[in-house]
């Protein structure tokens, strides 16, 4: 069946819709966008497959933002992730990244410093030896990947909230934004309430051994109340900020809150 096409070859349909939106009077535009939420209207308007139409994408983005708000609303700062006995630890604990282990960042612990930026009183950088002096606790919790699989691991480090207090962070700020040593510049924002959760940890050890390269040497942020991709490895800096700065996976469409 031949599809009627009013489009000029080479013209991007999405741009065309965007441009025509601009020329519409305000009220019409609002109605157009509101109408775009219905699947039937979408098919009629774009004349193309609903699934890859830009209006559907926009609608999904809005629902994802709504889901962020819902998750933030039901987040209980006192609800603890279940902990397990050592016998429950998954062996071997999987290495997981969008690259092979050979391509993982190979950080020299002697040169490495944790940079601290943003809304904090003390912006001094921290060496690994200095961080190792801080009191540490161990947790055995389940790591849940956005892909669906999960694994139980043993993590040792300093509760992030203790460190935030130590550096005089403004804990009324909205996010702690982490940047990592990955060559594509992995980064991820963590909402402040999750950052202050008692189990959120600056992790220096896995299974009581110095964190191996596979799991994020020299420092990983372990957040058992978040999906795995919001547990950044190879962390090089943290910034306390009110701005949403996006994240490696968040920008590609993973739900930003992604809480468990």
């Amino acid at each position: 069946m031949a599809k009627r096409s009013f489009l000029i070859p080479g013209v991007d349909k999405r741009l065309l819709i965007k441009d025509s939106l601009k020329t519409m009077p305000d009220l019409t535009r609002r109605r157009f966008i509101a109408g775009g939420a219905s699947l039937g209207a979408l098919t009629l308007l774009t004349g193309c497959d609903v699934v890859d139409s830009s209006s559907a994408e926009e609608m999904l983005k809005q629902v994802s933002k709504f889901n962020d708000a819902v998750q933030s609303f039901i987040f209980n700062p006192d609800a603890l992730a279940p902990t397990f006995p050592e016998s429950a630890i998954t062996k071997p604990f999987p290495f997981n990244a969008y690259y092979d282990l050979d391509d993982a960042p190979d950080v020299d612990g002697k040169d490495w410093k944790l940079e601290v930026r943003g809304l904090v009183d003390n912006k001094k950088s921290w060496t690994l030896d200095e961080l190792y002096q801080l009191p540490q606790v161990t947790q055995i919790t389940r790591h849940i990947c956005v892909e669906g699989w999960s694994a139980i691991g043993s993590w040792t480090g300093t509760p992030l909230r203790d460190f935030l207090k130590l550096i005089g962070a403004d804990t009324r700020a909205k996010y702690v934004w982490f940047q990592c040593a990955d060559k594509d510049g992995y980064n991820s924002p963590l909402d402040m309430r999750s950052a202050l959760h008692p189990q959120t940890q600056m992790t220096f050890k896995y299974a009581n051994e110095i964190l191996p390269r596979a799991y994020g040497f020299p420092m990983k942020i372990r957040v058992p109340t978040k999906l795995g991709f919001k547990n950044p490895k190879y962390v090089v800096s943290m910034e306390v900020t009110n701005d949403y700065k996006g994240g490696y996976w968040e920008d590609q469409g993973y739900n930003s809150f992604s809480g468990s």
């Binding site: 609800a79 956005v146 669906g148």
Partner: protein
């Protein structure tokens, strides 16, 4: 579309003829859409980390990649949950579940299964469900509740910890979620096949009579 909008006046004017009331029809088709979106996006999510030694063909998945599948899944879930909850409340409140789905007796089911397999099961009165229908419809409601509870548990294994506990642990909830999906797909095949074999039942679900 105009045939879907039967007004209350029309319904009450011809009470004897109505097989499926308007609320059942509206909720049925919303549920059909929500289920299809959930299944196709769910297959996309499954493919990211398969539980078994197979993946679903890409052509039958929604979202293009894991991130897109997740966006669809967590958008369509609202449609499924709100519509499903409204259906359960209305079904109990109006007494429809009690009147249409009960009783379900083993002897009744056996009798009707035998009749169905020998093509002797009559469909003269569509307002009364036979025992096979009762069992399947009541069963799929239970599966629907289970798939939502296991899904919510997997979505929020810390905040809704008691839901995960209901199934044992997180990995078990994943398997429960998968097998509920499989049960719904099996139901869907039989359900669509039978609706096509008895077209007047399909008409009743569209125009009500």
């Amino acid at each position: 579309m105009s045939s879907l909008t039967v007004t209350d006046e029309q319904v009450s004017a011809t009470p004897a003829k109505v097989i499926q009331p308007a609320w059942v029809r509206v909720m049925h088709w919303i549920n059909a859409l929500a289920m299809i979106l959930m299944i196709l996006s769910g297959w996309q999510i499954y493919n990211a980390s398969p539980l078994f030694g197979f993946s679903f063909p890409r052509e039958y998945t929604l979202g293009g990649w894991l991130g897109g599948g997740l966006l669809w899944h967590f958008a369509a879930m609202w449609l499924l949950m709100i519509n499903g909850l409204a259906y359960l409340i209305t079904g109990f409140a109006t007494g429809r579940f009690r009147k249409k789905l009960l009783p379900i007796t083993p002897s009744g089911v056996l009798h009707d299964v035998r009749a169905a397999l020998t093509f002797k099961l009559g469909h003269d009165d569509l307002t009364v469900y036979n025992y096979v229908q009762r069992l399947l419809y009541a069963g799929i409601i239970v599966v629907g509740v289970l798939i939502v509870l296991s899904g919510l548990g997997m979505w929020k294994p810390v905040q809704l910890y008691y839901l995960v506990m209901l199934f044992g642990d997180y990995p078990t909830a994943r398997y429960v979620h998968f097998f509920c999906m499989a049960a719904i797909c099996a139901f869907l095949v039989i359900h669509v096949l039978l609706a096509l074999l008895v077209p007047k039942s399909l008409r009743a679900m569209i125009i009500g009579r």
